[in-house]
Symmetry: C2
Subunit: 241 residues, 2 copies
DNA sequence: TGTATTTTAATAGTAATACTATCATAAATA
DNA sequence: TATTTATGATAGTATTACTATTAAAATACA
């Protein structure tokens, strides 16, 4: 297991960074320290000045790696999805059942392995992803970033899960919607259960969270054709009751 | 309809504002203009200076209504949920079927009425909600804000839909999770279909989006007990295949 | 109608943020 | 050893996110 882990290296698109932080100790320090600060103070309060101070480096040095803190967040997010993809492939390598593969994927999304990878605290990165990752794309510049392929890693992960869905139910019409609903749903429920519990149900641990979304996926996939209506036919059915 | 509309007034918790913007023309102007600017430049680039310039007023005047731009966003979000609740109640007033009520709720979430309420462009507010509303709670200060009851309106709306779910299927264990999954899901799909289409399926209009989530809700609710497993039993089932 | 009170505008100012630029030095590499 | 590259140190600018003060305008109220 450890051997495989050490062979992993996130493949992040240039364009996110000015200089790849994965290629130097200072760069790697930017990543690990930024995770800690963002986790502690939140992305809004996170500044390159705070990061530089913590790292005992300078703002100027950080700016040589990233244009701004948003690109750094995008890097962390991309790295996470690259890691998630790698880890999932490892875990599912010698399985054939797409159901089981999907279950593993959902379990991993709901409670990731809390390992430490070269000083990078994956559990903490997960915390950051849960609270901050949607801010990487819910922005005005999203189209421009997307044109440059900067959401590649997230899209790739979604695409892999969508493929799994189609293996389970060939011809299912909404694999991508289902997958993104599950992913973002898991993140939201994780956040809600900790901070806004009345928006969830009971203290949900990673396991039961995974159960809920796996069941949801299966229910959606295995829905009888009779259950699928358009708004108008649904309304007719209901009015006829 | 117009009469009813004019009787609506959002009930927003004090604590979000310093002085209720709904009680003065300047305050109302802050709301309508901020929606336009946030829609145009995004919440990150939105500043009270830009707002003051557009309104032909001053920063100091705006600061008398809101502590900061985040509280203003929270106000817009609360106002939206208050409006959504009011509108839904109106639409469902003389219906009895909880299924139909839920369908109406989901349809409204997926494509809100594009009316203009006292100069407030609801369609534009909806755009802002889709892209920005999660930033109102995905922050480090969430617990403190929540202790002061500042997420009341969103919680209330979620609670109403959860009640509907329980009317449809008494005893269903996860009404809140299902509801927030649907709400945030709708917003995400709306955003994705416009900006990251590979994360959705086909060009989804409001109607088909509503269909997808209504079907999802029904599938989750009407799931046979046999379909509900814990992770361990799921794994056993799968391994046995 | 006049006076008191509240609301807004105008202006100024401060600390922090988000950068850019320059130069020196250390480390790596050729 | 020479040369490139990476980092550090320092400085500086425009913008942001406010706070404070005073004056004018609008409103309430007696």
């Amino acid at each position: 297991m450890h051997l495989e882990l050490s062979t992993f290296s996130g493949s992040i698109k240039g364009g996110i960074f000015l200089k790849d932080p994965a290629t130097s100790t200072l760069g790697w320090s930017i990543l690990t320290n930024s995770i800690e600060i963002i986790d502690e103070v939140g992305f809004e309060q996170f500044t390159f000045r705070k990061l530089a101070t913590k790292m005992q480096s300078t703002e100027a040095s950080i700016y040589r790696y990233f244009e701004n803190k948003h690109k750094l967040l995008l890097y962390l997010s991309s790295w996470y999805w690259s890691w998630a993809e790698y880890n999932l492939a490892l875990r599912n390598a010698n399985l054939s059942s797409p159901q089981q593969k999907l279950l593993h994927a959902i379990e991993q999304l709901a409670s990731p392995t809390k390992v430490n990878y070269n000083g990078m605290d994956i559990g903490r990165l997960y915390q950051v992803i849960v609270r901050e990752s949607s801010k990487a794309y819910l922005i005005k510049e999203v189209d421009q970033l997307n044109r440059n392929g900067l959401f590649y890693n997230y899209k790739k992960f979604v695409s892999i899960l969508s493929q799994l869905i189609l293996e389970i139910k060939s011809g299912y019409a909404y694999p991508h919607m289902l997958v993104t609903t599950i992913i973002e749903g898991i993140h939201h429920q994780r956040f809600f259960s900790e901070h806004l519990p009345s928006l969830t149900d009971m203290p949900l641990e990673g396991e039961s969270l995974a159960d809920f979304y796996y069941s949801l996926a299966m229910a959606a996939i295995n829905q009888k054709t009779d259950d699928l209506h358009t708004s108008s036919t649904i309304l007719q059915t209901l009015t006829a009751e």
